[in-house]
């Protein structure tokens, strides 16, 4: 036990030690930035001071608390849009993987959807679904469809002939091969697609909010920008980053839990690398 605690202690120490130069660099950047604006090298209308941005963050989050409402509106739009887009994409990909004719006659339309810049549909989608949350959800769903579709399909179509033969030789049915071999093999790629899809869904929600909306982070952002309140605008941008990070890391967490066997191989690879480094050091 003492052995364990000591190793975690050194690891914690080294991690703490490693983070210090990063913090110093970050602080240095902020100080230079602040000085440059205060001394008039940068116009504060174009790039505001870091302290002004911090003040805007404090006001948005703590003093007025205006951000929370908009934050959750945008988060909801992106997540609901993602869920709709992802379920359509995954079901179409599964149908395409199971049936060759289906893939042949559906994929041209998916490709057409892909080469069309989905953002171009923004005005039309707003005309169709109205000024409320519906249009933002729809645009998010349209934008996140293709990366998920193509990743799932690629994952499901990669065949490991040897394993399939093994499955056949022990008498597995086609359904079993699909469920126990092809789906697990496709999951890592599916999650990669989901991560891209979440980011694009957020972009869809925000762009639709720019075009026409009454609430959401995108509205807040364009409102602040056009008031030339750059500090608040940048603070809102950072909130979008926060939404992006929340979405990305929750998908990463799911990836880690659901595709747990890759976590094992990842850990094994990491421990092998550590062993190699250790051996190299001992050898010296």
């Amino acid at each position: 036990m003492s052995d364990f605690t000591s190793t975690t202690d050194t690891r914690f120490d080294s991690r703490l030690f490693r983070i210090v130069p990063h913090l110093i660099l970050f602080a240095l950047i902020l100080v230079i930035w602040e000085a440059a604006v205060r001394l008039g090298f940068i116009t504060s209308i174009i790039i505001p001071r870091p302290t002004a941005i911090m003040g805007a963050i404090a006001e948005l989050y703590f003093v007025k608390g205006t951000i929370y409402h908009h934050f959750f509106i945008t988060l909801t739009e992106a997540v609901v849009g993602f869920l709709i887009g992802a379920s359509v994409a995954v079901s179409l990909a599964v149908c395409s993987a199971l049936s060759d004719p289906f893939k042949r006659y559906v994929s041209p339309y998916a490709i057409v959807l892909n080469v069309t810049p989905g953002i171009a549909l923004t005005p039309i989608i707003i005309a169709w679904f109205g000024y409320g949350m519906g249009s933002k959800i729809a645009l998010a769903a349209v934008l996140c469809f293709f990366p998920i579709f193509v990743n799932t399909l690629t994952g499901l179509l990669q065949r490991d002939e040897d394993r399939e033969e093994l499955f056949r030789s022990v008498g597995a049915s086609n359904a079993q091969i699909f469920r126990k071999l092809r789906v697990p093999a496709a999951l890592p790629l599916l999650f990669a697609g989901m991560k891209i899809g979440l980011t694009t869904a957020l972009i869809g929600a925000v762009v639709a909010e720019f075009s026409q909306a009454t609430e959401g982070v995108g509205v807040l952002m364009s409102r602040f920008s056009f008031q030339l309140d750059m500090a608040s605008s940048l603070a809102t941008l950072l909130s979008m980053t926060l939404i992006g990070l929340i979405l990305f890391y929750s998908m990463e967490f799911l990836d880690d839990r659901i595709v747990f066997w890759r976590r094992e191989t990842r850990r094994a690879a990491a421990s092998r690398a550590k062993a190699r480094a250790w051996n190299a050091r001992m050898g010296q």
């Binding site: 171009a120 005005p123 075009s211």
Partner: protein, 290 residues
């Protein structure tokens, strides 16, 4: 190719004169025209509101209007595409340069990593209103938006292309005492260039999206403004014609980048290798002949 031809010939003998490919093309066309026909019929029978869901024939008519009769699409197409190209070139130079700088320098890489993660999670297109406020209306802010939107894919791909060098190959190069320049030219670049090209392809698509968003906000000229104005006037048929124009444009961009990729990264495809091999063989033959 030849084997496939003989196979389809064998099939065509059985299926009454039509090859497999012809039958598939026919079925594709049949499905396509059935969908279009259903759409048209639905609109004509009043199941689809023509105000929001225009008939295919009226979209075709709009194509005629915006391309030939009024011809107003050309100017806007030119405006958008010149912005896209300018922004894409700027973003590519920035992305590849920064990616190479970061990729070759481990210290810079370590210190830049947290910022890259933050930048990756930000919906980068969201800076559009901010940049417009900072740089004013007009081409400069549009190009800045496009540069910012499209620099990221080449940056990440250059970085990963430069960093992910095959360790075994690198050891082989070292054991043969290759210089740094040789390692770069003969090991790093041949593996990195296809990855960088893939990033460029993504960047061009992103550039088009960035230009559209910039035009949606500025509403002065370009395809984005055109689509917005047509939709606001509920002239949906023309709006759809513009979107299908962008589809064609996207397809051309996709095919064009594929072609460029094919020729720049020639060692990744057989035809390119054969071309080089033939040329070397000819040169060798000429040398031996002397």
């Amino acid at each position: 190719m030849a084997a496939q031809d003989t196979m389809t010939e064998g099939l065509s003998a059985r299926s009454g004169g039509l090859s497999l490919r012809q039958r598939r093309t026919l079925l594709h066309a049949l499905i396509f025209f059935t969908l279009i026909g259903l759409w048209e019929a639905g609109a004509r029978l009043g199941l689809l509101d023509p105000l929001f869901y225009p008939r295919p024939t009226s979209i075709l008519n709009s194509f005629y209007l915006i391309y030939i009769k009024n011809g107003n699409v050309w100017f806007n197409l030119y405006a958008t595409m010149s912005l896209v190209i300018a922004g894409w070139i700027g973003g590519s130079i920035l992305g590849v340069g920064l990616g190479a700088l970061v990729g070759f320098n481990a210290v810079v890489r370590r210190f830049l990593k947290p910022y890259v993660i933050v930048l990756e999670a930000t919906p980068r297109i969201a800076v559009a209103p901010l940049l417009i406020a900072a740089l004013g209306f007009g081409a400069s802010s549009k190009i800045a938006i496009i540069v910012l939107v499209c620099f990221f894919a080449p940056f990440i791909n250059t970085l990963s292309g430069v960093v992910n060098v095959n360790e075994d190959k690198l050891e082989l190069f070292r054991s043969l005492r290759a210089t740094k320049m040789q390692v770069l030219r003969k090991l790093v670049l041949p593996d990195a260039i296809p990855v960088i090209m893939a990033g460029e392809r993504l960047a061009l698509t992103a550039a088009l999206s960035g230009a559209l968003v910039a035009e949606f906000i500025q509403r002065d000229q370009g395809m984005g403004a055109l689509i917005l104005v047509y939709t606001r006037n509920l002239n949906m048929a023309s709006s759809f014609a513009c979107i299908f124009t962008l589809t064609i444009l996207g397809f051309l961009i996709f095919k064009g980048m594929e072609w460029v990729d094919h020729h720049i990264a020639y060692w990744k495809n057989e035809a390119g290798m054969k071309r080089i091999g033939d040329r070397r063989r000819r040169q060798f033959g000429a040398q031996v002949g002397e």
